[in-house]
Symmetry: C2
Subunit: 322 residues, 2 copies
């Protein structure tokens, strides 16, 4: 019997599915559209059919599956395996997705966790976090997602909402965040907030080569900001410095909380590259205490788009053994 | 055979020692002066003699000891059982205190942890944190110490310096902290910083009934500030509001990090009572996100001065079983 671990990344637009061997090496993968408006039954059927097709194409059968992992956006009762609701999957309300998937995949055990935790676990298991036991993970996208690994286990918290690191407050009474709080790090340093701060500065009269972009496209992305930084724009420098400083201080705060050995940044904005990473490290060194030098490493994620399926399979393997 | 668990709280001035039964109920306790300037050998001998005396007085013998726990100020290599150095115990450098104690107490296993973690564990095991699996702990004294319990275990971090919660940064580029950072919550909301902010405001010309205290005593304590708050002083209100707000936002940040079910405040300043606790809860409710109501409880510690010996004994029991 072969041993196959299935990793599923269920998003609002696409479902990514991968088959992995017992060392979590990718065997094959695919991506299909979610068609979330068909409702949970149809989406689960689609996942099941896609898994079966992958198995057949690769010469495996349903009985080769050891366990299945699935990552979804929250909120969910992860340990119960139930998606409570989801902005990206509007028809999913109180869906017992773990049981539904298991029933249709030969009764194999399924583990459900949120997408940030799953990606965090992927990096921890075989990516940029490999080799440490204590790690903190940030995704820099529309918002800022987080994951914490302490002594080799994900920190889930009392109601499975731990590691909402984007909503730690960095500047009390500061910028309004989508969550209703003020001064969250997400309101400064996500890809969207980085772009938004640039827009606001230009609208308030700041001089910048980004002004033309805003006029032509009607909007600015974080990619634009980093491109104009590379071209020497002063406002882009100021905005990206603000982003790096916010992330660096959040790293310091997490160091003083769970003391990770490594902090891993993922998400679309890490495409900015070394200019972002270097600046985070500089602000970290500038603001960290002097009484002892901490051995923390700040790095970028290494798994890219596949972190979700890798993490889901790796977490399933960790949870249910091999 | 009786089962005795020994808890030791090693401070710079006093050593507190307690004997506990297997349900961590106090059998007897005592306190002796540390006389730290006699050096580690003499201090360990004193601890050993005191433990033996307690045993004899209570009708036990050395062989009744199951295990010993000891809490000390850091930094130390706790898992190695070695005190590296200590401001309060100046002659203690690289002292293998765990082995020294064990050798002289019948070879019984000894667990060493820092004083804040030990007190945190005491509250968790039988005090204000009893019944939850996820807890965060703050001590409000000269500084602000911390402890984190996640899924029923202390979070130690990669180099055993986790939960330095007083040094999470609350106001970037804010007040200078003793640790070298700026804007730490400790620089605003410890007992000492609360008093210091009052002094500074008066020296800067603020009107307050505390002015007389400062002139007569040359200093102000946090106790003075809370007494003058009770008497209706406006500056005392402003200062203590600042303290409560800083603590509340730090609670929010820890909620979004490890998601405790309960947050426990300990230390000298909780003597301020409900006026402090109520204000922390109010600021928490005012600043927390609106998207979901968290079930976190914010409470005061219940073990008082004995938290150290109780926690040390309870941690030893947890670590080495019964």
């Amino acid at each position: 019997m072969k041993k196959i671990f299935v990793g599923i990344d269920l998003g609002g637009t696409n479902i990514k599915i991968g088959l992995f061997d017992s060392s979590i090496t990718l065997v094959c993968k695919t991506s299909v559209t979610t068609e979330a408006d068909m409702g949970p039954e149809a989406v689960v059927d689609k996942m099941v059919q896609t898994v079966k097709k992958l198995l057949t194409n690769a010469g495996f059968s349903l009985s080769d599956i050891i366990t299945i992992g699935i990552g979804t956006p929250g909120p969910a009762e992860y340990s119960e395996g139930v998606i409570i609701q989801s902005n990206n999957l509007p028809k999913f309300k109180n869906v017992p997705i773990r049981r539904m998937l298991s029933d249709k995949l030969g009764g194999r055990p399924v583990v459900l966790d949120n997408d940030a935790n799953v990606a965090c676990w992927g990096e921890y298991a075989i990516g940029a976090g490999k080799g440490v036991k204590d790690m903190v993970f940030f995704t820099l996208g529309t918002g800022i997602g987080g994951g914490i690994i302490s002594n080799g286990e994900l920190v889930h918290g009392c109601a499975e909402n731990a590691a909402e690191l984007g909503h730690t407050i960095l500047y009390p009474d500061g910028r309004k965040c989508n969550c209703g709080q003020r001064g969250c790090v997400e309101a400064y340093a996500s890809a969207d907030s980085t772009a938004r701060r640039a827009c606001e500065a230009i609208e308030a009269g700041a001089e910048s080569s980004l002004k033309t972009v805003l006029e032509e496209k009607g909007t600015i992305t974080s990619k634009d900001v980093y491109e104009h930084l590379a071209a020497g724009d002063r406002l882009a420098k100021e905005i990206t410095d603000g982003t790096a400083k916010a992330l660096a201080i959040t790293c310091i705060n997490m160091l003083h909380a769970t003391e990770p050995k490594r902090i891993v940044f993922a998400g679309g904005m890490i495409a900015a590259g070394d200019v972002l990473l270097k600046r985070i490290r500089e602000y970290f060194d500038e603001h960290i205490w002097s009484i002892k030098k901490e051995p923390v490493e700040i790095v970028f994620a290494s798994l890219g788009e596949d972190a979700g399926i890798i993490g889901a399979a790796a977490l399933a393997s960790h949870t249910f053994g091999q």
